[in-house]
């Protein structure tokens, strides 16, 4: 039997039981020996308890999605078992704590069931936290990993310079052994996982929000103010812990209304200012974003999208803020939007966003999402040198300067320097004083929109574009769409691929190419089909494949739907 290429394990139970720790530990251990990993976490918005699950995919090749079906399900309680058992694949393995509940007899024929009293076994090692080690030991045995993988990981992870390090490591090692034995005794196996094929480039293992934070620092952010909100909080926390040094400022605001007004003030004073939020907070920023657009003040806002309107689904994945990101404010405006699709792109999106803000002098929105924000993944080590950090054009002349003269970006005076003006949220003349003259509103409006042209020359991915039907995913669903695309390539489905994280403004050359296609399919996690409707405004025959469950796409679903669309378009069955 050929070795398996990847496996997916889900830990499901009650928040606080260590599910996230378990999947992240497995990811770290697997990455250490050269596998590619991706975790996925979903939990209710509460500190402890509530149905929580965490998943880890371990793969020989780079993981693009978190995996459609489960090879192993670890159910921490009966409720979790009932909810998740349907996603276990045929021949998959269920691991459950037999001290907590029992699997009904009638279910047992459909799956490989391993009763593993891991809490008790964990405690028996002397380290009450070793239950996870028991589980990991069992999982490693199911894929026939060399024992050394997890043993080495245990030593490295838990040798922390504390007096009882040796005891913990020994207890954990005992836990791993107990898990392995239980798995061996069960006689079940997923087949040997192929040996890792470590990439020849340097890697880091990181979450999306951390990657974004690093990119922001690389891009020169020196002012950050934010308010806690799921799933964006970890960006604020990262900044509080890492934005340091002379001339920097980081602070927790009293509200998102304060966050936006404060970064606009800081941008006015010359800082590279940024905030992070999620849907509800972004809604509160509407008026302040209009102010930044009107005053032409650089600042960056990252919206880590969650699900639904109002409080909605705070800890689920959706891509339903695109309309709002482009048009958050009343009146005529269109904000630049960058939507990273991978953890690696989160890093560069932050750098580009800061550059854009300085280049066109206005607010820039980064659209991340829950799935990107909290998952752990190994990625190529980001290289800040790949994006040149841009500085603002600053006015250095004499007083009497007309800050808003002309129809494009002009050097910006900074308080403390020459060229005093009024940054005015009302329509203004060229020194910033309020005016209601019709010709001024025409000039001002055209100047503000005209500056967007400075952001149009952006890269995009294009593959197999001689096909009539192409797909164009965006944001965090790039991964599942990419995996679906590769599977369709293997199946011989005639479909092309386009992708860009620079969503607004869209590169006119990309739009030209898209307009030449018979059909552009846009997989996106929202009800309205937001990106496809924007593409249709540009004359592209675009159609969305929507999903609004709060969960990411499953690759198999995308393959099926896209293949059906291609067949309808070409009028015959395609692929294998």
């Amino acid at each position: 039997m050929a070795a398996t290429r990847d496996f997916v394990i889900r830990f499901a139970g009650e928040g606080g039981q260590g599910m996230v720790t378990a999947s992240e530990a497995l990811a770290a251990a697997a990455a250490q020996v050269g596998y590619h990993v991706m975790t996925f976490v979903t939990f209710p918005s509460q500190i402890m308890g509530g149905p929580t699950w965490s998943q880890c995919r371990v793969s020989v090749t780079p993981a693009l999605s978190n995996g459609d079906t489960l090879d192993v399900l670890v159910a921490f309680n009966e409720e979790a078992y009932e909810v998740h058992k349907g996603e276990l694949r045929d021949g998959g393995i269920l691991v459950y704590d037999s001290a907590v509940f029992e699997v009904p007899d009638e279910d047992r024929s459909a799956m490989n069931v391993v009763a593993l009293p891991y809490e008790e076994l964990g405690k028996s090692t002397g380290n009450p936290r070793a239950a996870n080690m028991v589980i990991l030991g069992a999982v490693a045995q199911f894929v026939e990993w060399p024992e050394q993988y997890l043993e080495d990981f245990n030593v490295q992870r838990f040798t922390r310079g504390r007096p009882n390090d040796a005891e913990i490591v020994a207890a954990n090692s005992m836990g791993l052994g107990l898990g392995r034995n239980a798995a061996r005794e069960s006689g079940f196996s997923l087949g040997e996982l192929a040996a890792p094929d470590p990439p020849d480039y340097e890697q880091i293992i990181i979450k999306g929000n951390e990657s974004f934070g690093l990119g922001a620092l690389a891009g020169g952010v020196n002012f950050f103010v934010g308010y806690p909100i799921s799933p964006a909080t970890s960006i604020l926390v990262f900044m509080e812990q890492n934005l340091r040094g002379e001339g920097t400022f980081v602070y927790q605001a009293s509200s998102e209304i304060e966050s936006i007004s404060t970064i606009v003030g800081a941008g006015f004073a010359g800082k590279k200012a940024m905030t992070s939020t999620a849907g509800p907070g972004f809604s509160l920023m509407s008026e302040g974003l209009g102010m930044a657009w009107m005053m032409e003040i650089p600042c960056v806002i990252v919206d880590v999208q969650r699900g639904g309107p109002a409080t909605g689904l705070p800890t689920k994945s959706e891509q339903s803020d695109l309309y709002m990101a482009m048009h958050p404010a009343h009146g005529d405006s269109q904000l630049p939007v960058i939507a990273p699709g991978t953890i690696e792109e989160c890093f560069y999106a932050a750098m580009h966003a800061l550059n854009w803000a300085e280049r066109y002098q206005g607010p820039v929105i980064v659209l991340s999402d829950h799935m990107l924000s909290e998952r752990v993944q190994n990625i190529r080590k980001p290289d800040p040198a790949l994006v040149e950090v841009e500085a603002r054009q600053i006015y250095t002349g004499t007083n009497g300067y007309k800050r808003y003269e002309g129809d494009s970006v002009s050097p910006m005076p900074l308080p403390g320097g020459p060229g005093a003006y009024v940054a005015n949220a009302s329509e203004h003349d060229d020194i910033g004083d309020t005016t209601h003259l019709p010709e001024r509103h025409v000039l001002g409006t055209e100047r503000r929109f005209g500056k967007l042209k400075l952001l149009e020359d952006t890269p995009y991915e294009a593959r197999n574009t001689d096909n009539d039907v192409v797909i164009l995913p965006w944001g965090g669903q790039k991964g599942p769409a990419h995996e679906a695309y590769e599977r369709m390539m293997e199946n011989g489905v005639p479909v092309g691929w386009y992708y860009t994280m620079f969503i607004s403004p869209l590169n006119p050359k990309l739009l030209d190419e898209l307009r030449s296609k018979k059909l552009v399919l846009v997989p996106e996690l929202n009800y309205l089909g937001q990106l496809s409707s924007i593409l249709r405004q540009h004359g592209v025959n675009a159609k969305s494949l929507t999903q609004y469950t709060g969960l990411p796409f499953k690759v198999a679903d995308l393959v099926e739907k896209i293949t059906a669309e291609v067949e309808a378009e070409v009028g015959s069955k395609v692929g294998v």
Partner: protein, 289 residues
């Protein structure tokens, strides 16, 4: 409109208290920049929305930097400007509607942080720019366009409010006494911490209360304003609160906390103690071991 800004079409009504406030601010900024050797371009005026906020377009003489933003957000904007560049001299000009109604949520955080800015609040007890609606400081029972049967909620008492929220410096001025007002604005700007100079600045169109404020012997009206006795110790918080609760409108410095350490100084001292890592080092900390 002035020679400087011929397209600007806003005017204060004749007799508006804000003229006096504008003069006092111009005098204070000019005096401070000269006497304290502060670069004029280091002055920033952050304006609220309402008649008073237009002050930022109307100043005569050398121009400070101005920020005329959205309604109610002067404090967060000033927080960004001052924290972005602590060298700047940041002043807020706003009215009772902007500062005490839509923007009131920001006073507490600014006071706790001891944000080193000076707020000059022009209180006319009415929404003037929208033509005469009830404001937080409109008195109980007063008829306005939005309280046709008389206002049925109590009025905000600004001095008690500021003091209870923890403002470090609270002063009370009257637009008809610009010299005294200028002195208080000067003290507020020199003060290291969050300072508020609350000015009675009547609206001659919708709430002409000059007679009530300064008294009119002919009409038998006693003045509502009175000078805080020189014997008052402004570092005495309890005494300041007592004055704020007494009837009438006291004029002078109610409170000036001693040992005030503003946010920018606290922040800079904290920031200099924390270890700073460069980006490459931080990226490397995520390396797969």
């Amino acid at each position: 409109m002035t020679k400087r800004n011929p397209e600007y079409d806003f005017k204060w009504c004749p007799g508006c208290g804000d003229f006096g406030v504008k003069r006092a601010i111009e005098l204070t900024i000019a005096a401070r920049t000269t006497e304290m050797d502060i670069a004029f371009e280091n002055n920033v005026i952050v304006a609220g929305i309402g008649c008073s906020g237009n002050l930022v377009h109307l100043t005569d003489g050398p121009q400070p930097f101005g920020f005329h933003g959205i309604h109610g957000r002067t404090l967060p904007v000033a927080f960004g400007i001052k924290s972005g560049n602590p060298e700047l001299e940041v002043m807020i000009v706003a009215g009772d509607g902007d500062f005490l109604s839509i923007g009131a949520e920001h006073i507490g955080p600014a006071a706790q942080r001891n944000l080193n800015v000076t707020c000059v609040i022009m209180d006319n007890g009415v929404y003037g720019l929208t033509k005469g609606q009830s404001s937080p400081t409109t008195q109980f029972g007063v008829v306005t366009s939005t309280t046709p049967g008389g206002k049925i909620e109590g009025e905000v008492k600004p001095f008690q409010y500021y003091l209870s929220l923890g403002a470090s410096f609270v002063a009370s001025a009257f637009s008809s006494k610009p010299r005294e007002m200028a002195q208080m604005i000067r003290q507020g700007m020199d003060y290291r911490g969050f300072s508020i100079v609350h000015v009675q600045s009547p609206c001659t169109t919708y709430n002409d209360n000059y007679d009530v404020l300064r008294g009119n012997a002919k009409k038998g009206i006693d003045p509502l304003t009175y000078d805080i006795p020189e014997s008052h110790d402004p570092t005495d918080y309890r005494e300041a609160l007592r004055i704020a609760q007494d009837p009438g409108i006291p004029l002078g410095v109610l409170y000036a906390a001693d040992n005030s350490e503003p946010l920018d100084e606290r922040y800079s001292s904290l920031n200099s103690r924390l270890r700073s890592r460069d980006v490459d080092e931080m990226i490397a900390s995520f390396a797969i071991q």
